[in-house]
């Protein structure tokens, strides 16, 4: 998740720069082409989102553009120390001390996290309306791996420290950066005191050389026991006589020490007496303005108490001259990340803004081509253009469009009232039903909804509030997820759907992710091939995290093994929770536990074989034509569907499709993926019916483009119309007894062995499902106790059943065909069942049905729901097979046959 800080009076600033380009044909140790620096930076940038400090501008986005160009977006303020100095602003003693205190605090925060600030200079020191420091553009040491990924320097020349200037190797930057920051801090504060820049002639010819030489002269002098650099600098600028506060002088002297070992650290400077005055002021005025109070998945670690100013009580903020949260401007109380997300949805276009400021030019390709390219040397004849150089000009992104789009939103939209979870659990009524407009929007296709600013505005505020109160709001989150999931919060929402809770951070910390294991090699081979089009997963940072997650899982599940495909399965969780490995891990484990129980056993064939056998039965049940075709050419699920189910389709779909698929999949029970499989076959129906075996193999080895929206809808529809006993599994997680199962035990399905599953092409229905399909509860023995459940009641534990599919729940009528002999039939049979004795000329020798009135009736209703009832033996299966062969849909056999119905008292004799 991104920055939790409020927008306040901040705005967004964007600037652009170029990454260093790799030479052609450069390869890494695996022989793969080198990952472009732009991608490596994208990965490292994510870490900046975790930086949340009151005196640091939040980083919002780093965008890879054409070629090596990147655009960085950050919180931004117009008022900077540089502009103040240009306007000859003079700081009061307290003001200067406050500036020093806030800067030192920001640096100390960064240094504690092993980061150093880049571009520490007067241009980067910004102020918000309250006059608090907001340091800008500080993240490039981390993002560029201390300058490894770019050609430009990460310091402004005036503030560069002597050790950096004298360092022989750029590799050492990493070791010098933190203490260098202290030097820069000293120079900035000195300039504040001097009320002008050191070396104002920097941009003249030789300005840089003069600056550096002068600086080094002072350093050398002081090394030889001469004047300190501070005195030297003051003297050169003719300010040796200007009275300086002794505390300030002592502070500056601690900063401007040539040798880093003698220079103070930010941490120790924090307790310097010079900052004491400012400290007192700070505590009351400089509270962090967080949007969310807590991270719902931080378990017991929520110890840091942060006082959050409420927008309604002005007590905590009235001290500032300008109240940060304007009375009616609720947008400013949204988090920076949220506002940026909305800004993009409101049609914000970064490149357009940068072009307007002519920071980007779009030279036609025909004019930018080189003239000669020599293999081992370089390109010749390309005009050099200063547009590729580093330019720190920041463009403020306009907010008018966004504010205009949101101007109709009132306080009730920003602070909606939450329903009662207990009430919602029973009717699954989403809050979108409260507004006609939202209800209409919610019915649009997902791709459109995700781009609609009105809709996403409501969803993201709703989900933010729901997630804050998780796990109390778990049922509410499920209810809303039935409608859809907000893309900005997908990671945490999924975690909630997967019932992740507790102290997941400590649990994750305790797992050893470093010691070598036998699977390391396999993991190392798989990761660089896993969803590499996704920039974060392709970055070194991503692969490092990926490796840790997979190793943690292997270590944490000694009874399971790493099957190839686990990497793909992990990819959605890592990409959605890139900055929260613990949450990614907990969701990942919870997912496997729920949906892939036993799939990662060393011998996973029982569970896999059962899954595939049921899958095949469901194909026959829902699409006998395809089933017959695949049966004829011998194209069975074990040839193509194993990676589907083992990776829950993450191996076959790109991540953006996986997100949409799983938004639904996470609502269904562990058998729902079977219907996704059937739905894919249905979508590829035309091809399957015309292809031969080899073509099918080819097509499934590299699945063509699937319309995921259609796929999900169809899977949901099939799931709705399929009685649960048809896909009852025994090898997975034991299915929890259904809450609304009130029948006697004999009505339950007796599970089949894998062998029998594979022999029968049609699934078996439980007596219970037959009873509820035919609404025979009142007649069956063992159901007397049941108070009449309302018809068509939905199971609250199966949220997917609540999804509005716009179609009738179950289609077709139930036809029960009794294939016992006529005598048996007459001695007792189910009401309104047909008797088509198996051996008495129902089928012609060629397999077709004979022309009796019963078969005619059957043929008319080939789309209805057909249950075959037999005495004993495998007659029912054989009969069913013949019907399927004739392309009858929805054929199943009754588990237990006539015997079960008799024991439930549902057989009545004709004579009665």
């Amino acid at each position: 998740m991104g920055s939790n800080f409020m927008l306040g009076d901040g705005s967004f600033g964007a600037f652009t720069f170029y990454a260093r380009e790799h030479q052609a044909e450069e390869c890494n140790s695996h022989g793969l082409p080198l990952t472009p620096n732009t991608i490596l930076m994208t990965g490292r940038f994510e870490g900046m989102r975790n930086i949340q400090h009151n005196n640091l501008c939040a980083y919002l986005d780093l965008l890879k553009c054409n070629g090596e160009r990147m655009v960085c977006v950050s919180e931004y303020y117009k008022d900077s120390l540089e502009t103040r100095m240009k306007q000859k602003y003079s700081f009061t003693h307290l003001g200067a001390a406050q500036l020093a205190a806030e800067l030192t605090d920001a640096l100390s925060y960064l240094h504690e996290r092993n980061m150093a600030a880049s571009f520490l200079c007067t241009e980067s020191v910004l102020f918000n309306k309250n006059g608090n420091v907001k340091l800008f553009n500080y993240g490039f040491c981390h993002i560029t791996d201390y300058g490894n990924f770019v050609d430009f320097a990460l310091e402004s020349p005036r503030y560069i420290s002597p050790e950096l200037l004298l360092s022989q190797s750029k590799d050492l930057h990493i070791a010098m950066a933190t203490k260098s920051n202290i030097w820069s801090l000293g120079i900035i504060l000195l300039e504040v005191f001097m009320e002008c820049h050191l070396y104002p002639d920097l941009f003249l010819k030789n300005g840089l050389a003069t600056l550096f030489t002068c600086l080094l002269r002072f350093v050398r002098n002081s090394q030889r026991g001469g004047a300190t650099p501070l005195d030297g600098l003051l003297e050169t600028h003719g300010l040796a006589e200007k009275p300086m506060d002794t505390n300030l002088k002592s502070f500056l002297e601690l900063c401007l020490v040539p040798l880093p070992s003698k220079r103070s650290s930010a941490h120790s400077l924090l307790s310097h007496v010079y900052l004491k005055v400012a400290k007192n002021k700070k505590d009351s005025d400089n509270l962090p303005k967080l949007v969310s109070i807590r991270n719902p998945f931080d378990g017991e670690r929520v110890t840091e108490k942060i006082e959050v100013p409420s927008p309604y009580s002005s007590s905590s903020m009235s001290t500032g001259e300008a109240n940060v949260i304007l009375k009616e401007d609720h947008l400013s109380s949204c988090s920076l990340q949220e506002v940026y997300f909305l800004w993009s949805l409101a049609g914000g276009d970064l490149n357009n803004e940068l072009s307007k400021a002519s920071l980007v030019t779009n030279r036609p390709p025909v004019l930018s081509l080189p003239c000669v390219v020599a293999q081992d040397i370089k390109e010749f004849g390309v005009e050099e253009d200063s547009i590729h150089l580093y330019d720190d000009t920041v463009v403020t992104l306009p907010m008018e469009q966004l504010r205009k789009r949101l101007q109709s939103k009132g306080i009730e939209d920003y602070y909606p009232i939450m329903p009662d979870p207990e009430v919602v659990k029973n009717d699954r009524r989403s809050v979108v039903n409260d507004s006609e407009q939202l209800l209409q929007l919610s019915k649009l296709p997902l791709q459109i909804k995700e781009k609609d600013i009105d809709y996403q505005f409501h969803r993201l505020i709703l989900y933010r509030r729901l997630l804050e109160a998780y796990p109390y709001t778990k049922e509410l989150i499920i209810t809303e997820a039935i409608v859809d999931v907000c893309p900005l919060n997908r990671g945490p929402i999924w975690a909630a759907l997967l019932d992740v809770h507790g102290d997941i951070v400590s649990r994750y910390d305790e797992i050893d992710k470093e010691s070598a294991t036998p699977t390391d090699r396999q993991i190392a081979v798989d990761i660089p091939r896993c969803h590499q089009y996704h920039l974060l997963l392709a970055s070194t940072t991503g692969q490092f995290k990926f490796n840790r997650l997979l190793k943690a899982w292997v270590r944490d599940h000694p009874h399971l093994v790493y099957w190839q495909g686990l990497d793909s399965l992990c990819a959605p969780f890592l990409s959605l929770n890139f900055n929260d490995e613990a949450l990614a891990y907990a969701s990942f484990c919870s997912f496997i536990d729920k949906y892939l129980t036993n799939f990662f056993l060393k011998d996973n064939s029982p569970v896999m074989q059962e899954y595939l056998a049921i899958f095949l039965q469901l194909i026959a049940y829902h699409d006998p034509v395809v089933f017959n075709r695949l049966d004829t050419i011998g194209f069975f699920p074990d040839l193509y569907a194993i990676p589907w189910f083992l990776t829950m389709f993450t191996h076959v779909f790109p991540l953006d499709k996986v997100y949409h698929l799983w938004d639904t999949l996470l609502l269904g029970n562990p058998s729902f993926p079977l219907f996704v499989g059937v739905s894919i076959l249905v979508q590829l129906r035309n091809e399957l019916l015309s292809y031969d075996f080899n073509e099918c193999i080819m097509m499934f080895s590299d699945l063509p483009d699937i319309n995921i929206h259609q796929c999900v809808t169809e899977a949901g529809r099939l799931y709705h119309i399929t009685p649960p006993s048809l896909y009852l599994r025994t090898q997975g997680k034991p299915q929890e007894p259904l809450d609304n199962f009130h029948g006697p035990p004999e009505a339950c399905k007796v599970p089949l062995s894998i062998e029998s599953l594979r022999l029968e092409c049609s699934p078996q229905l439980s007596a219970h499902d037959l009873i509820s399909l035919c609404k025979l509860e009142s007649r069956a023995i063992g159901y007397e106790r049941v108070s009449k459940t309302p018809p068509n009641s939905k199971d609250p534990n199966d949220p997917l059943l609540w999804r509005d599919l716009g179609t009738k729940g179950r289609n077709g009528e139930v036809i029960v065909i009794d294939i016992r002999t006529q005598e048996e039939f007459e001695s007792g049979h189910m009401m309104s069942s047909y008797n088509l004795p198996h051996y008495e000329g129902t089928f012609l020798p060629n397999g077709d049905l004979t022309g009796s009135p019963e078969t005619a009736c059957l043929r008319e209703r080939e789309w209805d729901f057909i249950v075959i009832l037999a005495g004993k033996g495998d007659q029912a299966a054989t009969f069913a097979r013949q019907l399927v062969r004739l392309n009858f849909h929805h054929v199943c056999t009754l588990n237990g046959g006539a015997g079960v119905l008799r024991s439930l008292g549902l057989l009545s004799s004709v004579l009665e």
């Binding site: 360092s167 370089k378 790109p654 590299d702």
Partner: protein
């Protein structure tokens, strides 16, 4: 990392009354999570986790921050102390200065390259109703160019006839006399050719100037009109002037017809849509075509015959319109031409191609001969650089191995900075072209005498606005022997050059390319079916590899690649290569997926 180090951490604790010590070696800079490391150390040393956990975590944290501080201070101090001892200060200062001046916009001496206004003027006009007028103008110019060219050809032919006659008459004379006459003939011929070449050049320069002037005027009028319509005032006046500018042209123009597209009958062609990538797919379109490579440059196969064709009709090829409209867009088409190591237009395909370019005036780019001169300039530079590199390698063997690399880098740097000057030198050289006797042809042949050549795998790019279907020509330097060698492999410089071309095109946002599949433009007797299949496979795989690589991180990029087979390949050969393409790119699926077959085959 060069600067990192390892430190030993130890922690004392008591277990069952016994004093024990835990030891671990940790890297500095430490980038891990302290809690995690502590947990791991406890597991390894079998310390029950509830004991000492917090103590260990805080001891570890303190230890690491202390060691990191020491490490940082040591490196920082070292840098300062060593520099003062070693007296490298000036060098350091200069390095930093150049770092800022080379990479930071505030300190650079480079200016933003001012944009030539002409491309944007053209771009605006070509997307306005003025397009047809503009193309008509171009057409008229090309007709008049054509007149001159045919006059030139006639003159040369006549001279040939005259010379032949004279030679016939001389047959009885002595060898010396014949030789003398022949020398005179050669001289006369050259003089005549030069004269015409000069005339053509002159004419082209005039045309180019007129064309650009006219476009600027037209644009000014259109632009001013739109800005002044609101103001009223001068609007009317502008309008009337505009009429004059357009009328000026239209008066001596007859309306033009857009020609119907007629594909040459004998062309074998097949199209494929392919999808690459494991989960995220990128789609590309591939075509296998059997055709003459020159047909992409001119509508007629024979440049000489083309003139008659153009003159005879007032038709405009729709392909030509497309090419004109896309000139400054990102929809450029590039063609790869094989060339030998010499940069000239004396013989073979090079000559045919250059003649195509010379058929009409290029209003946007320098003429082919001028462009080749620039290439020649860079080639000389490259050759020099290579020679110094070789020298360095030989000389630098005994000394530090890193030094040659460094020097190379610097010398290439200096080349880069020199290049603008060089090109201006070239353009002044071009200025002197107007002197008789220094026709482009003779200049390039003069220079090749000096033996300035590129190496196989290098390539140069020429840009053209007057070819029928392509804008950019990548001349891939290769050598005939290597091309004919059946065991040419992916690591051969020519193949690297091919990949380099694709990469350069991609970086310049050009994603339509025509590749001679067999790396040669004509069938030769040695090229058996097997040879062709082997070569086709090599190029298919190479291109596939490139497509996969270039779309890994940018899967929304669609390429259009046309694989060109030389005329004269058998139907069977075409068939087999087409199957090979299907196999290499696994297209059998995608072809029938789109419902109707996207594999269109035109074979007659």
């Amino acid at each position: 990392m060069a600067s990192s180090c390892e430190v030993e951490f130890s922690f004392d604790y008591k277990s069952r009354g016994e004093s024990k010590q835990l030891k671990a070696s940790l890297p500095i800079p430490y980038e891990g999570n302290i809690r995690e490391t502590a947990a791991r150390l406890m597991t390894i040393n079998e310390i029950p986790s509830h004991l000492f956990e917090e103590e260990l975590v805080s001891a570890l944290g303190a230890f690491i921050s202390e060691e990191t501080r020491k490490w940082r201070d040591r490196i920082g101090d070292d840098a300062i102390l060593k520099a003062f001892e070693g007296g490298t200060i000036d060098k350091q200062v200069n390095e930093w200065v150049s770092r800022y001046t080379h990479n930071h916009a505030h300190f650079t001496t480079l200016k933003k390259v001012p944009d030539d206004p002409f491309p944007s003027i053209y771009l605006q006009l070509v997307h306005s109703p003025a397009l047809t007028t503009l193309l008509q103008l171009e057409h008229t110019y090309s007709l008049s160019m054509n007149d001159i060219s045919s006059a030139a050809r006639n003159a040369v032919t006549n001279m040939h006839k005259k010379h032949d006659k004279e030679l016939e008459n001389m047959l009885q004379k002595t060898d010396t006399d014949v030789n003398k006459l022949m020398r005179q003939h050669v001289f006369e011929k050259k003089e005549l050719e030069d004269k015409w070449m000069l005339e053509i050049n002159e004419q082209q320069n005039v045309q180019k100037r007129e064309y650009r002037d006219w476009l600027s005027r037209l644009h000014e009028e259109l632009y001013e009109e739109t800005t002044t319509t609101g103001g009223g005032g001068g609007g009317k006046k502008q309008k009337s002037r505009k009429k004059s500018a357009l009328a000026e042209l239209q008066s001596n123009q007859q309306p033009m017809m857009i020609e119907d597209v007629q594909l040459p009958n004998e062309r074998m062609e097949e199209s494929f849509t392919i999808y690459l990538g494991a989960q995220q797919k990128s789609s590309h379109s591939l075509r296998l075509i059997c055709s003459n490579i020159i047909s992409y440059c001119t509508d007629s196969r024979d440049p000489a015959a083309a003139s008659a064709d153009i003159a005879g009709s007032m038709r405009l090829n729709p392909r030509r319109i497309e090419t004109a409209v896309s000139l400054y867009s990102t929809e450029l088409t590039a063609l790869i031409l094989n060339t030998d190591r010499e940069i000239n237009t004396i013989s073979g395909l090079k000559e045919v191609f250059a003649d195509c370019c010379r058929l009409s005036t290029d209003f946007h780019f320098p003429s082919i001969d001028e462009q080749l001169l620039t290439v020649q300039g860079f080639a000389t530079e490259i050759k020099e650089t290579r020679e110094t590199m070789k020298g360095e390698k030989v000389g630098g063997d005994s000394t530090d191995t890193t030094s040659p690399n460094k020097i190379n880098f610097e010398s290439s740097l200096s080349n880069m900075s020199l290049s603008p000057d060089r090109s201006s030198a070239n353009s002044s050289l071009l200025g002197s072209l107007s002197n008789p006797g220094l026709s482009p042809k003779s200049v390039s042949s003069l220079e090749t005498d000096e033996g300035v050549t590129l190496e196989p795998g290098d390539f140069y790019i020429t840009r053209h606005s007057n070819l029928s279907q392509v804008h950019v020509i990548c001349h891939l330097v290769s050598d005939d022997k290597a091309i004919l060698n059946p065991s040419l492999n992916t690591r051969h410089p020519i193949m690297l050059g091919l990949r380099n071309i694709l990469r350069t095109l991609a970086r310049n946002r050009i994603h339509k390319v025509i590749i001679p599949l067999l790396l040669t433009d004509q069938m030769k007797p040695d090229m058996t079916i097997n040879w062709c299949l082997k070569r086709a496979e090599l190029v298919f795989k190479s291109v596939k590899g490139f497509l996969l690589e270039s779309t890994t991180w940018q899967s929304d990029q669609t390429w259009t690649v046309q694989f060109l087979l030389p005329e004269g390949i058998s139907d069977d050969g075409f068939e087999q290569i087409s199957d090979l393409l299907s196999k290499t790119y696994r297209t059998s699926i995608s072809r029938s997926l789109s419902g109707n077959t996207s594999g269109v085959r035109i074979v007659n």
